[in-house]
Structures are given as structure tokens and as C-alpha cells.
Amino acid sequence: MVPFRSAKVLSTLSLALGALVLGLAACSPYVYREEIASFGSGVDTSVAAFTAMTPAYAAWATEQRDGELLAFARNGDKPLTEGCDDLELRYEEAFEAAGAPAGDLLTPEDYAACRVTPVPVNDPDKGLPNLEGLGQALKDYAAALFVLTDAEDEAALEQAFGQLNASATSLLATVNEELAARSEPPLESAGALVYQAGLTYLRQRRFDALKQAVNANDAVVATAADLLAEAALYIYSPTLGEKKDALETAENRSAEVTAETYVAVWSDLNTARDAYVAALRASPIYAFFKIETTHRALRDSVNDPANRAQLEALYGNTLALKKAAEAALKAVRKEDGSSS
């Protein structure tokens, strides 16, 4: 009885799987694979542009700290240490108690207690770990979106279904042999259909996860991009100021312009004007704004995957993001003289 029932089950399964394959075929996360990869790449480049500007902050923080130190000097405060005298003793005592330990003999608090006074408020070594952390979190999110669309799992599944397909074909052959002996029509191959249905199921699951993620996180990504754009606005401000200063310096030469120098002064002024405008145009805040719009386009598209116009909008947004991020990075690197 078992093989006959298997035949009936396979036949029913074929129809059910066929319906499943047709029903779900439109919702594939692979449609978004390239767009999500480009989104991730745009996010990476934008964050790199931001990171490339952090030396400007370090320079400012150093200047501030040095200013504070100068004020201490004027005030007659001598640079001294505090909390360092007991450190070595504590280190030896800890060794006496623990011998050769796996970890540090002293705690981070012990080290922190040993410091130079007076302590300035500004500390250039502190950096901007939270903003850098936000950039990294955004990069990680984009990378995780890509993991969902990555074909690696599908390859594993293909292998698994390859086995299933062979087994099902073998079972089908056994049943069909017997059906032929009894002049019954043979069953069609179910293996390929089983494989397609399995793939479709996983694609659907990934698609659902993608859809859920971009819907749930759209506001978070928008706020993250907005905060990074705000940081970029502040940190880019001195660069714009320098360009404007160069423009004014070029303009000041007009005070002494003569007929002989007129062309040169006029040309230099134009060059400085173009550089100022180019710096404004290449502001990294645009790239962060485009992260927001690209994620929104992705959200709109996954909510209506059959909508060709939305897919095209998503594609257009990812291209714009890539372009803006690359322009920002290029501009920032040109500013600090690095080429890589």
C-alpha cells in the first residue's frame, strides 16, 4: 500500500507545489540584491567621508585644550601628577596575591586615577566614539540587509534539494515502473517542482524578513542618517570657511589691481569662487540625506514589489547615493591632501 499512497501524495504535492511556486514567484529578495549592495556601498562611502573629516575635530579639540593649558599657565597652576604614587605599590601587592595572573594586575580605574593636573575640559584623544559608533551601526545594518539577500544560503539549499530531487526521482521511478506494468499513466517528475517550491519558500521568507526590517527600521535609518548629516554639517563648517576665506583673500587683491594685473586678479577670483561653490556642492550632508531617501525607496518598493516605477525609483536613488557619497569622499580627501 505504501508506494500507491506515495504516488497519490506525490501527485497532490505536485499540484500544491506548483500553485505555491506560481503564487510566490514575484516576491524575491534577489530583485533587490544589487540595490541593497549599492545601498551598503553608499553607506560605507558616506561614513568614510565623515571619518575622513574627524582630524578637523581633533585639531580643534587640541587647540581648545592648548588654550586651556595656556590659561592654567597664566594662572600659575603647575603641571603635577596625582594618584600615581601608589600605583606601583598596588601593582606589586596584586602580584604578591595573584602571582602571574591571566589579566591585568591593575584595573582601568587604577590607571585612570593616575593623572596629570590641572585637567583641561577638552581632550582631543577622546575623539568622537559615539558618532563613529553610529556610522558603524548604520554600516552593520546595511550589511545585515545584504546577508538576507545573499545567495550563499540558496547554494546550500540547492545542494540539499539536489539530493531530494534525486531521491524523489528514484521513488517516482519505482512507482511509475509498477504503474506502467498495470497500464496506468505515469506520474510526472515532482523533484524539480519540489526544489522550486523550496527555493520559493526561502525566498519568500527572506523577502518577508527584508520587508519587515525595512518597514520597521525606516524611521531609525532616517534618524541615524539625519544625525550623521548634522555631525557632517558641523565638522564640514571650517572647510567651507577656509574656502570662503580664500575667496575673500583673492578679492582683497582687487584693492591694488592695475591694468597689468587685472586679468590675473579676475581669473584668480573666479577660480576661488569655483572652489567655494564646489565645496558647498560636495558637502557630505547630501550623501546622508540620500541614505534616508534610498532606504525609503527600498521600503516603498518591497511593499509593492510588482510596481516597476518604484523599482526604478529605488535604482535611481541607489545610483544617486553612490554618486553623492563618492563626491563627498573625494572632496574631503582632496582637502586633507590624501589620495587613497
Partner: protein, 125 residues
């Protein structure tokens, strides 16, 4: 929360006051250029630079406030949670693929059983 925080950090009133003063000095500088008064141009340019330094200072202070803000930490948490959820789901999908592989092994066994049954008796109609 972000817009309100940003407005507060930007200190727009102070920025506008600096911009207004700079604008006045820029007009005076251009007038001095027209008059050919090089000394006055240089003096005004220094005043403009001083104001620009103040504006830069304001920007970096705002950056520092943003760096230390609660908004920033909350968003990092949210993004990290979202990223973890995506990785978990990707792992679950992988588990499904592995489960299907086990299913294929079970069918292999079924085929063997059918083959053995056939050797004992003809299949019923």
C-alpha cells in the same frame, strides 16, 4: 526629538548674529577695496576671520554636544537591535535549508524501503 535637539545645538540665534556682523564687515571690506584702502581691507579681513573662528568654535561645540547626546545612543541601540534581528533571521533561514537536507535523507531511506518491499511482493493497485 532630533529636530528640536538640532535647533538647540545649532544655536541659530548666535549663528545669525555672527552672520549679520560678518555681512556688515563684508560690505565695509568691499567698500575699502573700491577705495583702494589696503590697510583697512586687511583690518576688516582680520575681524571677519575672528568671527569665522567663533562660528567654527560654535560648530565644534555643537558637534561635541551631539556626540554626547542621548539621541545618538538610542539610535545606535535601535540599529544594533535591527541588525541582530536580521542576522538571526538569516540564521533561521539557514536552519530551514539544513532541515530540508535532512528531509532528503529521509526520502533516501523511503526509497530503500520501497525497493526492499518490491522484492517481497508486487505493488498493490
Amino acid at each position: 526629538m532630533s529636530v528640536a535637539g538640532r535647533i538647540e545645538r545649532l544655536r541659530l540665534d548666535t549663528r545669525r548674529a555672527i552672520a549679520k556682523n560678518m555681512r556688515v564687515l563684508q560690505d565695509q571690506r568691499r567698500a575699502a577695496i573700491r577705495d583702494g584702502d589696503v590697510g583697512e581691507v586687511a583690518r576688516l579681513q582680520e575681524l571677519i576671520r575672528a568671527l569665522r573662528r567663533q562660528r567654527n568654535d560654535l560648530s565644534f561645540r555643537a558637534l561635541r554636544e551631539l556626540e554626547d547626546s542621548v539621541d545618538l545612543r538610542l539610535i545606535i541601540d535601535d540599529l544594533q537591535k535591527a541588525t541582530k534581528a536580521l542576522h538571526d533571521e538569516a540564521d533561521n533561514i539557514k536552519t530551514v535549508a539544513e532541515a530540508l537536507e535532512k528531509g532528503a535523507e529521509a526520502i533516501d531511506l523511503a526509497v530503500e524501503i520501497v525497493a526492499k518491499l518490491r522484492s517481497f511482493a508486487p505493488l498493490p493497485v
